[in-house]
C-alpha cells in the first residue's frame, strides 16, 4: 500500500538520518577495534556499501510482515551498540589469547545488521507505487528526503562525537520514531521503551565494553579507559594501565605514552631547539602540546599547528599542565591542516618540527611526501632546520623510515639522522646546510640513552640507497603497510 507523499518523505527522511548516523557509528567503532589504517577505513566503507546493496536487493522482495520482523531484529542490534561488538571482540580475544580471523567475521555480521535494514525501505516503498508518474514523484520527494536525512544524520553523528552518550540518545530517538511510523503504535512503543531502557540501563552505554577491549585485545591487564571521544577524524582514548602508564590511543593505535613522550620530545624538539635557539619555530602535530612549554622557552616565537581540536583538548587535560601554557606570550595555536597552514603563510621559520603519526592513512601520508618536504623547505630561513620523527628505526629500504628519509634526501642537500635505541626510532634533521655537527648532536643525547647512531653524508646515502621517496603520486606504502598489519593481526 503506497504511503502519502508527506509520510513517505518523513519515513525516508528518518531512514536517511538513521543510515547516516549508523554509518558513522560503524566507521568509528570498527576503526577503533580494527585500528585506523587506511586499509581498515576502506574495508569498513566497503562493508557498509555491500550491506546497503544487500538491503536494496531484498527490499522489494520481502512481504511487509517479514520486513517488520527483520526491522525489529535490526533495532535490537542497534540498541545494543556499541557494547555488543566490543564485548564480542574482547570475548573472542580472551578465548583465543589474541586476535584471529573470526573477529573480522563477527564484525561483518554486525556491520550488515547495523546498516542493511535502512536500505530496505527505499525500493520497498517505491516498488509499491505502480503508476510511473506517481513513482517518479515518490522518488523525487522520498529519495530526496533520504539524501537530506543522510547528510543530517552523518553531520549529527560527527558533531556529537565528543558527547557519545548524547549521540546514542539522538540515534536511538530517531530509530524509535522510525519504528513508530513503520511498525505501528504498539511495536513502535515497545521499541521506544527498549531504546529508553538501553539508555537508562547504563553505566554509560557509550563507554560499555571499552575497558574490556583494552584489557583483552590490547592485552593490558587492568586497563581503564579514563576518557574517550570521537573527533571527525578519529577516536581518541586515554587509557591508564600498569604496563604503559597513561597512554593516548588514536583509532585504537597507541600514539604515545608518558614513558616515551619525554624521549620523543627530547630528540624531536628539545635537541634542535637547543642547538639553534630559533627566532621563529613551528610545530606541526604534537596535539598533546607537550613540546610547547619547553620549545616556547627556547624560541623567540612559537606556532603550533594541529588539525584535531579534540586531541588538543585531551592533551591539555591529561598530558600537559594547562598552567604551563597559560602564561606563554610567544606561542600561537592554529587549528589547521599542517600543509594548508604552510601553503598559506608568508612566515619563514628557523625550525619546523613535524610530530605526526606514521603514514598509515593517506591524510597522514601527504605530510610525509617529497612535495610536502619541498613546501617545508620553502618556508625555512636559509639556515633553518626541519626535524622529523621517522616512525621507527632505519631498516629495509621498503620500510617507512627509509622511504621518509629518501623523500627528505630528495629535497634537502643536508640531512642528518639520529637512530635512538632508547626511543626505538630514528629522527631526521634536514636543511640546506645544517648549522650543527654530528658531534654536537651526539653531545645532546638523552641522559638515559644506551646506544645512539648518527648517520650523515655518504654513510646515510649508502644506508638508504635503494629506498624510493614517498611522493603525492606514489603512496603505495600506505596501503601495503596497512594490509600487512591487518593480515598479520588477523590471519
Amino acid at each position: 500500500m503506497p504511503l502519502s507523499p508527506r509520510r513517505l518523505a518523513l519515513v525516508l527522511g528518518l531512514v536517511g538520518v538513521g543510515f547516516g548516523g549508523a554509518q558513522q557509528l560503524l566507521l568509528r567503532e570498527f576503526a577503533a577495534l580494527l585500528y585506523g589504517e587506511e586499509v581498515v577505513l576502506l574495508l569498513v566503507a566497503c562493508v557498509a556499501l555491500a550491506a546497503a546493496s544487500l538491503g536494496y536487493r531484498l527490499g522489494d522482495r520481502w512481504t511487509p510482515r517479514t520486513h517488520a520482523r527483520l526491522l525489529l531484529l535490526a533495532l535490537l542490534v542497534q540498541f545494543a551498540w556499541p557494547a555488543a561488538p566490543r564485548w564480542s571482540v574482547a570475548g573472542l580475544c580472551l578465548l583465543r589469547g589474541g586476535t584471529g580471523p573470526e573477529l573480522l567475521l563477527v564484525l561483518l555480521v554486525f556491520a550488515f545488521a547495523l546498516t542493511s535494514p535502512f536500505a530496505v525501505f527505499l525500493p520497498a516503498l517505491l516498488s509499491s507505487e505502480t503508476d510511473p508518474s506517481r513513482r517518479l514523484a515518490a522518488l523525487r520527494w522520498g529519495y530526496g528526503a533520504e539524501l537530506l536525512g543522510f547528510f543530517l544524520g552523518s553531520a549529527l553523528a560527527l558533531l556529537l562525537g565528543t558527547e557519545p552518550q548524547m549521540r546514542l540518545a539522538v540515534h536511538f530517538t530517531g530509530l524509535a520514531a522510525l519504528a513508530c511510523l513503520v511498525l505501528g503504535r504498539a511495536r513502535g512503543l515497545a521499541c521506544t521503551a527498549l531504546a529508553g531502557l538501553a539508555l537508562a540501563l547504563g553505566p554509560p552505554l557509550a563507554a560499555a565494553g571499552a575497558d574490556a577491549v583494552y584489557q583483552h585485545k590490547h592485552r593490558l591487564p587492568g586497563a581503564r579507559v579514563i576518557a574517550s571521544a570521537d573527533s571527525p577524524y578519529q577516536r581518541i582514548d586515554i587509557v591508564d594501565s600498569a604496563r604503559r602508564g597513561r597512554a593516548l590511543y588514536l583509532d585504537g593505535l597507541r600514539d604515545l605514552d608518558t614513558g616515551e613522550l619525554d624521549i620523543l620530545n627530547h630528540y624531536l624538539g628539545r635537541v634542535p631547539a637547543r642547538l639553534l635557539h630559533p627566532a621563529r619555530a613551528v610545530v606541526l602535530g604534537n596535539g598533546t602540546l607537550s613540546l610547547v612549554p619547553e620549545l616556547a622557552a627556547l624560541s623567540g616565537h612559537l606556532h603550533s599547528v594541529e588539525l584535531d581540536p579534540i586531541v588538543v583538548a585531551a592533551g591539555t587535560r591529561f598530558f600537559t599542565d594547562p598552567a604551563a601554557l597559560a602564561d606563554l606570550r610567544n606561542w600561537q595555536l592554529h587549528l589547521a591542516d599542517g600543509k594548508t597552514f604552510l601553503a598559506a603563510t608568508d612566515l619563514r621559520f628557523d625550525l619546523i618540527v613535524v610530530d605526526l603519526p606514521s603514514p598509515l592513512t593517506l591524510g597522514e601520508a601527504y605530510l610525509h611526501t617529497r612535495e610536502f618536504y619541498a613546501l617545508c623547505r620553502a618556508r625555512l630561513t636559509p639556515s633553518g632546520v626541519l626535524a622529523v620523527q621517522l616512525s621507527g628505526r632505519i631498516g629495509a629500504p621498503t620500510r617507512t623510515p627509509a622511504r621518509l628519509l629518501a623523500s627528505l634526501r630528495a629535497e634537502f642537500p643536508d640531512v642528518m639522522v639520529l637512530d635512538s635505541e632508547l626511543g626505538d626510532r630514528a629522527f631526521a634533521y634536514a636543511s640546506d646546510a645544517l648549522p650543527f655537527t654530528p658531534a654536537a648532536l651526539r653531545s645532546m643525547a638523552h641522559p638515559d640513552e644506551q646506544s645512539l647512531e648518527i648517520l650523515h653524508g655518504q654513510t646515510l646515502t649508502d644506508r638508504i640507497a635503494e629506498a624510493v621517496p614517498l611522493t603525492l603520486d606514489d603512496l603505495d606504502l600506505v596501503l601495503r603497510r596497512g594490509a600487512e598489519r591487518l593480515l598479520d593481526r588477523h590471519l
Partner: protein, 167 residues
C-alpha cells in the same frame, strides 16, 4: 555489465576522486569532507529533476571533473578558499546519478536491483579510486573517469538492436 553498475563505477571514481584530490591539495579538515559530501548530495538531488538525455549529464560531469582535477594536478597544495570554487564542479558531476534514477526507476518492474547494482558499482569505483591513486598517482584520478564515461556512452547491445530506443 548492466548500466546501473557502470554508472555506479563512474560515480564512485568521481566522488572519491574529488575527495582524495581535495583532502590532498586543499585540506584534510573535516569541513572538506562535509562540503564534498554536501555538494555531491545536492547535485544528486537536483539531478532527480533532470531526467533528460543522460549523454549531456555524463559529458557535463566529466568536463567539470577534468577541469577541477587538471587544476589540482598543477598545484600541489593550495589555500582552502579554493575549496569553495571547486564545489560547483562536484555538484555538477553528481547530477548524473539523480538524473539516471529519475529516468529508469519510474518504469522498472522492481526498483531494488537498480539501486543495488548502482551501489555495487559505486563500491567498485570507490575501491578503484583509492587503489589507483595510491599506486598510480594523480594521473589515474584524472584519467580513469574518461574510461568509465566512455563505457557509459558506449551503445549497449539493446540499443544496437533494430527498433530499440537510443540510450
Amino acid at each position: 555489465m548492466p548500466r546501473p553498475r557502470r554508472l555506479g563505477l563512474h560515480l564512485g571514481l568521481l566522488q572519491f576522486g574529488y575527495l582524495l584530490a581535495l583532502q590532498r591539495g586543499v585540506s584534510a579538515a573535516a569541513v572538506t569532507y562535509a562540503l564534498v559530501l554536501g555538494a555531491w548530495l545536492l547535485g544528486s538531488l537536483i539531478g532527480l529533476w533532470l531526467p533528460g538525455p543522460q549523454r549531456r549529464l555524463v559529458l557535463l560531469g566529466l568536463a567539470a571533473h577534468l577541469a577541477a582535477h587538471a587544476w589540482l594536478l598543477a598545484h600541489d597544495f593550495v589555500s582552502p578558499t579554493w575549496l569553495v570554487a571547486l564545489l560547483p564542479a562536484i555538484a555538477t558531476s553528481a547530477l548524473l546519478g539523480g538524473g539516471f534514477f529519475a529516468r529508469v526507476v519510474p518504469t522498472a518492474t522492481r526498483t531494488g536491483p537498480i539501486f543495488a547494482a548502482e551501489t555495487d558499482g559505486f563500491l567498485a569505483g570507490m575501491l578503484l579510486a583509492v587503489l589507483g591513486y595510491a599506486f598510480l598517482g594523480r594521473w589515474f584520478s584524472l584519467l580513469a573517469p574518461l574510461l568509465t564515461a566512455a563505457l557509459l556512452l558506449a551503445p549497449t547491445r539493446r540499443s544496437l538492436s533494430p527498433g530499440a530506443r537510443p540510450a
